[in-house]
Amino acid sequence: MPSALDRLLGQALESMIREKLGQKTCEKIEARLRQRYNLDLVESINDFYTLDATLREFFSTGADAIEEDFANQLISINTPAKGRHWISIENRELAELILATYGDKDKRIILEVAFTNPSVILDILEATRIPKSSGYRLINQLVENGLLTEQGYAESSDGKKVNKYTALFEKVNIKIDTNGLIFTADAPLPSLPTVEVLLKENILNESQIIRVLLRAKKLSPTNITV
């Protein structure tokens, strides 16, 4: 199972790869991925080392430049003089997903409860008082999108191990600059709000995508306090 951060970033990466390299090149890469690892493009994004190895086989050191591009268009890591590093979401698709998620009252409550007290799904639903049927659907969506991540286990009444969940982000900072915005037919639409996130500690190390993309940018996750 890919890490939550990889699940989140992977959604935007697929369209970025297809757009950058073109459909035909992606088909060739996918054929090679199937031949070598028995994975398609989406699966290989979730297991990013396989995609990295295949890009290197195709483009040699040129893969560094491609991955650097992906990194730049996906996230940028702010480097304050002291304190923890906030991550700016550069990709529109991802930013919109985060905005939509935190704009949804029920999802926001689930994420807040899970962050404050990592718990099994049943406990989260009880704490949030969201009806179970819609609650399970919302939690599944959050897990699929990578915004809710597994953190440890609890034991159920029959002795089975059950996943506990927590939110991927500790803080989300959304800046909307309304300075000078005049809405007329000719005026361009306002740009997307800036979305910055503070990841839960040590999450960065679990992400294959981040490790590879930061390597392309000559950075290491261990040098970055999150």
């Binding site: 073109g22 031949q35 070598r36 690892y37 396989t50 483009f59 040699s60 430049a65």
Partner: protein, 260 residues
């Protein structure tokens, strides 16, 4: 996660078909043999001229086909479109050149065709830079030095051999200078491209492209040098260089199409 290994890990084919290279070499020999054999009648279109234009047009068509294949990709679509435009401009220049020679019966040097001949270089250079920039972000100082050194040395050689001899036409020297400089610059970027794609699946594609551009540059330098002294004839060896260069580039396009 477990991966399937064994026979499935066989690397994709990246090699060249030496039969195709031999065929290109054979075409070059046949071309130059006919070039010598067929009489050079002033004002008449020879089959050699038609074959020559066809080799350039083939390369233009091949570039457009490859460009179409990568229509929506950020790099290859635009880059190969530029290469197609470059060879189209070259082919148009050649057709105008032949039209002026055979229909208008005028000496096509200098000529309006030169605008089209020259137009190929910025488009070829755009093609090369587009590819290089996509796959290599940082270029070292050493690379920048040799990148600049290649055209500088070639222009100096062109100048040295011109002024070393008596009877040169200063106008023709200056007229040929931008062509030589632009052609040499395209060679410089082709060599960088070859370096960037070394060890990748596209290594041979870029080697072929660099060889094609090298032959083109060699032909250009020779031609503009010959024109300074009025020594250019249709049977001259430069024509075979110009004839073979687009064929080699066409083969490189075919390999690109097949590989990725």
């Amino acid at each position: 996660m477990s991966y399937s290994t064994g026979e499935n890990t066989m690397e994709p084919k990246r090699g060249l078909n030496y039969k195709v290279l031999l065929l290109i070499a054979a075409l070059a020999v046949i071309y130059q043999t006919f070039n010598y054999m067929l009489p050079e009648t002033e004002g008449e279109l020879s089959p050699i001229d038609i074959v020559f234009t066809m080799s350039i047009a083939t390369c233009a068509v091949a570039s457009f086909i490859v460009s179409k294949r990568y229509d929506h990709s950020a790099v290859f679509g635009q880059a190969y479109l530029a290469l197609g435009i470059a060879f189209t401009a070259y082919a148009i220049g050649d057709i105008i050149y032949n039209f002026q020679t055979t229909v208008l019966k005028i000496d096509p040097y200098p000529s309006i065709a030169d605008i089209f001949f020259f137009a190929q270089y910025p488009f070829i250079i755009f093609h090369l830079i587009r590819n290089i920039k996509f796959f290599r972000r940082k270029i070292s100082k050493v690379t920048i030095i040799w990148l600049a050194a290649i055209p500088v040395v070639l222009v100096l050689l062109y100048s040295y051999f011109t002024f070393q001899q008596e009877g040169y036409s200063l106008f023709d020297y200056y007229y040929g200078l931008p062509f030589v400089a632009a052609s040499a610059t395209s060679l410089s970027f082709a060599v960088l491209g070859m370096q960037v794609f070394r060890q990748s699946l596209l290594a041979n594609v870029w080697s072929l492209l660099a060889v094609g551009i090298f032959l083109n540059t060699l032909g250009d330098m020779n031609y503009y040098y010959l024109e300074i002294f009025g020594l250019y004839t249709r049977t001259h060896f430069v024509n075979v260089l110009w004839f073979v260069a687009p064929l080699i580039i066409t083969y490189s396009l075919y390999r690109h199409y097949k590989i990725i």
